[in-house]
Amino acid sequence: MRSLVLLLAATAWGADPASLLRDRCLKCHGGEKVSAGFDLTKAGSPRVMAKVESGEMPLGGPRLGPEELAAVRAWVEDGAKPLVAAPRKQFWAFRPVVKPAVPQVAGAKTAIDAFLLVKLQAQGLGFAPRADERTLLRRLSFDLAGLPPAESLPYEKAVEAYLASPRYGERWGRHWLDVVRFGETDGGEHNFERALAWPYRDYVIESLNADKPYPQFLREQIAGDLLAPQNPKMVRATGFLTAGPWDSVSAELNKDVAMKATARMDELDDMVTTTMHTFQAMTANCARCHDHKFDPIPTRDYYKLTAVFQTVGFGTREVVTPEAKAAYEKATAPLRAHLKDVEHKIADAEDPVRAAYLRKAIRAFHEGRKGEARRIPVNPVFNVNRIREAGELRLVITGHDGPVAKLDWLTVGGRRVEKWQAERKATPDEPVYLSLGVVAAPGEMAWACDEQWARKPGGITVYRVEAKRGAEWAEVASSLDHVRSVEVSLPVAPDPGLVPELKRERDRLKAEIAKIPAPERIYAAMPHAPDQAYVLERGSIGKKAEAVEPGALSVLPAAFAADKDRRLALADWMTDAANPLAARVIVNRVWYFHFGNGLVNTPSDFGLMGDRPSHPELLDWLAASFVENGWSLKWLHRQILMTQAYQQSAAHNEKAFAADAGNRLLWHMPLKRMDAETLRDSMLAAAGTLDLAMGGPSFRLHRMESGGSYIFKAVANPGPETWRRSVYRFNVRGGDRLMLDNFDCPDPSVATPQRSSSNTALQALTLLNDDFVWEQAQKLAARAGSVGRAYELVLGRAATARELDLGGKYAADHSLALFCRVLLNTNEFLYIP
C-alpha cells in the first residue's frame, strides 16, 4: 500500500522539482527539523545535486531515479531557490474528533453495524449469522464477568444484569491493571513488598462498578490526593502513579550522586510514560534523549511532563487528620494495652521454655544493672525498646562487636526474626539495615544477639529503629533509649490450660479494635518537594540545558493552566475538549477487549509508528457519542454488546478469510482462548469452590524468601483462602512462574496493553499436572457426581449420548475426578466461543 503511494508520487515529481524536494528532502531539512544545519526553506543550495547523485541523500530512503535526478538538476539550474514547505496535513490522531453521519446501510441493526458493514460490503462480505443463545450468553459472561454463566437469561436482560454485577468491575478492572503495570512489589534487586498497594486495585474495581465518568476516573488517578487529601478513596486513586517498579537500591543506597539523580529521573520517566501511554496513547518517553523520531513531541515537552510529576514520591502514606489520628489512638489505647497483655500470656504459655529463660535473663540483667543511669548499655541477652509508632519499620545498625552484626532473635509487633546475620560490617556511615516489616500497632521491640551468653562476636551495640513516614525514614527508637528492665513486665508463670480462653479473648479484642475505624494507610503518591526541571541533553543528568515549567504536549491546542496545581492542570489538559486523544483512546481500549482486535491495534500508541484506525469514522463516532453520553463506560459497553457484530457466530468463511485473515473487518467473532485469570476463576467456579469475597488485602500464591534481597517462590499447597478471584492475587514482580504466568498473565514490570495468547507445551503440562487443577477436578467431581452434570458445569451444555458413553467408560476405568481433569483441559472449555 505504502509503496504504491510512493510510486504514484514519483510519477508526479517528474513534473515539479520543487514538489519532489518537498516530499523527499523537507522532512529533515525543512524548518520544522533542520538536520546538519541545512534548511532548504531558508536557502537552496547547488550542493543538493552532489548529495543526491552520490546516493548519500535521501538518508535512509531509496535513491533518486534518473528522472528525479533530472528534475533536481533543473531546479539547481534554475538558481536553487528556497522552497516553501507545504502545510502538512495533521496526523489523524491529533485532528479534532468530528462526529460523522451514520451511513445508511440496509440490514444494519445499529449505528456501529452500519459503519462496519460499509467496509465489509465493499469487499463483498457481511457479518456471520447470529450465534445461538447459549453461545451468546457464554461469550457475554466470560467477557463481562470473566466467569461462566450462572443462570440462563434472555440476551438483552443478561447484558443489563452483567453490567450491574460487581463481577464486571473485577473483570474489567483486571484489564485496566494490565495497562497501568500494577504490581505489589518494588521489583529489582531488593524487590520489597508493598503490602498496602491493594487499595488502588479496589479503587479501580469500585470506580468501574460505579460507572464513574471517565474524566473523573482519569483526574482522580493523576491528582486524587490534591482533590481531597483527607479522603482515603481519593488518595487510593493515585496508586496509579506509583504502581510501577521502583529501584529502591539506586534511590536510597547508592552513594554515587549521578546514579541517584538518574534513578529519580527514571521514576519520573515511569510516571510520564505510563500516564501518556494509558490516557493519551502517546509514546512521549521516546523524547527523553532526543526529539521524538516520528511524532511531533520535542524533548522540551517531555521534560515539561517530568516537571508535572516532580511532586510525587514513592511510599506508604497515612490518610488522616491529626485530630482523627489522636481520637483513634485514644479510643483504642485501653483495648490495645489489654490485647498486648493477653498476647504476652499466650506467648508465654505456648513457649514456657523461652518464657522461663526470659524471666531468668531479665532478672539477672536487672540485678546486674541495679542503680545504673537510665541510659544503659545494650545487653547481649535481652533488650527492649518502646516503639511509639506503627507502620513499616527497620532496624538500622551502626555499631557492633566482631566482623558482622548478628541477632539470635528479635520480636516486634508479633513479627519474629530468627538467627539473622548481616552481610557485611556496619559503620556509622554505612549502616546495615534489617527490615522489620509492617507493624500494625505501636508496641515493644525485644531482641537478643547472644541468647546463650556465649560471648559470640557480632553483638549489636549501636542501633536505631526507624519508621517510614512518607518517603522519609524517621528515628523512633535507638540504643540510647532502650527501656530499663524494671519497666518490662515480667512474664507470669504460664498455665497452658488457659490458652484456648486467652485466644478467644485475643480474637474478641482484635475484633473490638477492628470495629473502630483506623486511619487508612495506602501505598500511593507521596508528597515530594519538587525540583526545578530541566531539559537534559541526550537524557543525561550531567547535561542540564534550559529550565522548564510543568506543561504537556505542544502539538495539541488544549490549555495547560499554569496557575493550577501541575497535576490537576495535566488532568484538565488531557480531558479538555481540544484534546481528542482521551476519548479516542478509551473507546478503542474497550473495543479491543470486547473483540480482541482494536479499531487501532496499538491501544497505547496512536503515533506514527502505531497502527492506523481500521474504521476512522466509527472511532470518531464512538468517541463523540461517548462524550455526549456523559463519558459513561457502561453506556459504551451496551452499544457494543447490542451490535450484530458482537453477536455474530464464530463461523468460518473461506472467502472472508482470504480477504481479511486478521478479521479487522469483523466478519466473524473468532474463538478466544481464556486469559489466565478467567481460566483459573472459571475452574473454581465450575468446582463450586470460588470465594467471591471482594476487596481487601491480596491473597498470596508467592511467598517471600529473604536473604538480603527477596525472591518470591511458589506457596506450597495454597489453601481455600486463595480460592478467590485472581484479580485479588498479590502481584509479584519477578516471582516464580506459576500457572497464571504460563498462560500469559504479564509480569507487571512493564505495561501490557495487549496480552499475548500463546500456546505452549508448558501450558499443557500445567493444566494436566498442576496440583491446583487436580484439586479442583476432585472438588468438581464431588460436586457433579456424574459425567453428564460435569459437562453442564464445565461446558454449560448437555453431553451427547456418545460423550456420555465415552466419558462414562473412562470414569469407570479410572475415576470421575480424572474425567473432570480431562474436561478442564479441553479446548472447548479453554476457548470462549
Binding site: 505504502r2 552513594k255 554505612e430 491495534n601 496499538t602 509508528m609 518470591f712 500456546n759
Partner: protein, 456 residues
C-alpha cells in the same frame, strides 16, 4: 494485509499463533557461526583484576591512595587504597595469556578463548546491571538474551524447551526469574528453569494420585475430544496447535527425565566435572547437564555460578573479604567449567556452540574502605570471554587502564557485546525486533556495533 498488520497480529496475539510457526522461529538473517549458546553467568560481580586482567601496577602501588583516573564513587561510597591481587599471575598456553592462580583449570583453556577486557555497563548497582546483561535494558521486564534468540531461531528439538536455565543450587541469582523472562515476547520463549533431578520442570509429572496408565488414558481421551472439537470449528489454527502442544508435553515428560539422568556417563567424565567433590558437585552437575541438553537440541542455556545475597553470601559480591569469597567460589567454578569446555571440544561441539562467560560488572582495584579486604563494584571496566566458532582463539581484545579502573582501549558496551553474540548466531541485532508500546524493540535498544575484530 500490510507488513504492519502482520506485525501487530503477531504482537497483539489476537489469534493464537500456530505452534509450528513459534517453534520454527524467524530464521537467521545470514549464515550462523554457532547454532547453540551457553551463557555462564557469575552474579554478584566477578573480579577481573584478580583473574584474567593482569595488573602489575597494583603490586607497585599496593596500599597507596589512588590518584588520576579514578573518579568513581564506589557503590557504598567508601574509598580505600590500591589493593594488589592476593593471587599470583602466570602466563599460560601458546598465547602466553596471564591468568591468576585462582583459576588453574580455566588457565589451560586460554588458547581456545577470546577475551574482552574492556567491558562497560551502565549501572553500578546489581539490579540494573544484571538486567542489562540479561536483557539489554537496565529496567526489569524486557526479554532476555535467550528469549530473543529463541524468538529469532526457534527450537531445534521437539521435546525440550528451546531455552533452559540452570540456576545455582545455592539459590536463584539476584532479581530471580526476571533474568530469563520473555518480557513482551510470547511465553513460549521464556527460559525454563530446571529444578531438581526428580522433577526438572515444574508439573512435569502427574500428581502422585494419578498413575501412568490413567495419565496415558487422559492424554488419549483429551486428544479425542479435542480432535472432534477442532473438526467442528474449521479454520481455527489455535485449536490444532493446542493438540500439538499436548503431544509435545507428553514427549517432554519422557525426554526431561532422560536428559537429567547422568547414570550413563563414564566415571572419568563425572570426575572431570567434579562430581566426586562435595563443593563442586552441584555446579559440576549443571555443567554436565548443559552439555547433555545441548546434545539434545536445546538452543540456549543460561547457567549460573552464584546465587543471591543471603547470609552467608553465595555469589561473587566480595565487599568484605575477597580472599574467602572469590577463593571459595572460584574453586567451585574452575574445574567444572574447564571440563565443560574440554568436553565440548573433544566432541566437536565447539564447532557450532558459542560459550559466553560473563558477570554483571567487575570489582574495583582499590579496597572497600581503608585497610579492608573487600572490593566494591566496578561497572567501567571488566572482563568477559567467549569460546566458539568464528572467533579468534587465544586472543585478547580491549584493555583497561594500567590500574584496571576503566576501559581504556576499545571499550565494549553491552549493546556491542549482545550484537556480537547475535551476529555469531546468524542474527542481525538491528533486525531482530518486536513491536511493543510504540517501538520496534530490540535487544540492543538503538545502539550496538558488532565487534568484528573478534572474528577469525
Amino acid at each position: 494485509m500490510t507488513r504492519r498488520d502482520l506485525l501487530w497480529n503477531a504482537g497483539g496475539g489476537a489469534a493464537g499463533l500456530a505452534l509450528a510457526q513459534l517453534l520454527q522461529g524467524k530464521g537467521t538473517h545470514f549464515p550462523a557461526k554457532a547454532k547453540r549458546l551457553i551463557m555462564i553467568f557469575l552474579p554478584g560481580g566477578f573480579s577481573s583484576v584478580d583473574t584474567y586482567d593482569y595488573k602489575p601496577e597494583l603490586v607497585k602501588h599496593h596500599g597507596k591512595e589512588t590518584q588520576g583516573a579514578n573518579t568513581i564513587t564506589p557503590f557504598f561510597g567508601k574509598r580505600g587504597t590500591v589493593m594488589q591481587s592476593p593471587w599470583k599471575f602466570a602466563q599460560h598456553g601458546q598465547s602466553g595469556k596471564y591468568v591468576s592462580e585462582l583459576l588453574p583449570h580455566l588457565a589451560t583453556c586460554v588458547d581456545d578463548t577470546t577475551f574482552v577486557h574492556s567491558m562497560v555497563t551502565r549501572s553500578n548497582a546489581h539490579g540494573p546491571a544484571l538486567f542489562q546483561m540479561s536483557t539489554g535494558f537496565i529496567f526489569q521486564g524486557f526479554p532476555s538474551v535467550g528469549s530473543w534468540i529463541s524468538y529469532g531461531l526457534g527450537s531445534e528439538n521437539e521435546n525440550l524447551p528451546s531455552f533452559v536455565v540452570l540456576p545455582d543450587r545455592r539459590g536463584l541469582p539476584p532479581c530471580g526469574v526476571a533474568n530469563w523472562g520473555n518480557g513482551f515476547l510470547p511465553a513460549v520463549h521464556q527460559g525454563v528453569a530446571f529444578g531438581n533431578q526428580e522433577q526438572p520442570i515444574a508439573n512435569l509429572r502427574p500428581p502422585a494420585a494419578v498413575n501412568a496408565k490413567a495419565q496415558a488414558a487422559s492424554y488419549d481421551l483429551l486428544s479425542q475430544l479435542n480432535e472432534e472439537h477442532a473438526g467442528a470449528n474449521p479454520g481455527e489454527d489455535a485449536l490444532v496447535s493446542r493438540i500439538r502442544a499436548y503431544e509435545l508435553a507428553a514427549k517432554m515428560q519422557l525426554a526431561a527425565p532422560e536428559v537429567t539422568d547422568i547414570s550413563g556417563e563414564t566415571a572419568a567424565t563425572r570426575k572431570a566435572y567434579g562430581l566426586d567433590d562435595a563443593e563442586m558437585r552441584d555446579y559440576g552437575y549443571n555443567c554436565l547437564l548443559a552439555r547433555r541438553l545441548m546434545e539434545r537440541g536445546v538452543r540456549v542455556i543460561q547457567m549460573y555460578n552464584g546465587g543471591h545475597f543471603g547470609a552467608p553470601r553465595v555469589n561473587w559480591d566480595a565487599h568484605e573479604d575477597l580472599i574467602t569469597n572469590h577463593g571459595k567460589n572460584a574453586r567451585i567454578l574452575d574445574q567444572p567449567t574447564a571440563a565443560l569446555l574440554q568436553d565440548l571440544k573433544q566432541r566437536g561441539m565447539l564447532d557450532d556452540t558459542l560459550v559466553v562467560f560473563t558477570t554483571e560488572f567487575g570489582r574495583l582495584p582499590i579496597s572497600e574502605g581503608l585497610g579492608e579486604g573487600g572490593r566494591d563494584h566496578n561497572p567501567e571496566g571488566f572482563t568477559s570471554w567467549m569460546v566458539g566458532p568464528g572467533l579468534k582463539r587465544g586472543f585478547s581484545y580491549g584493555s583497561t587502564d594500567e590500574m584496571g579502573y576503566k576501559a581504556a582501549e576499545n571499550p565494549v558496551t553491552l549493546y556491542d557485546f549482545h550484537a556480537t553474540i547475535l551476529h555469531l548466531m546468524g542474527l542481525d541485532h538491528t533486525r531482530l525486533s518486536w513491536y511493543h508500546n510504540g517501538l520496534q524493540r530490540r535487544l540492543t535498544d538503538v545502539h550496538g556495533h558488532v565487534i568484528k575484530p573478534l572474528f577469525a
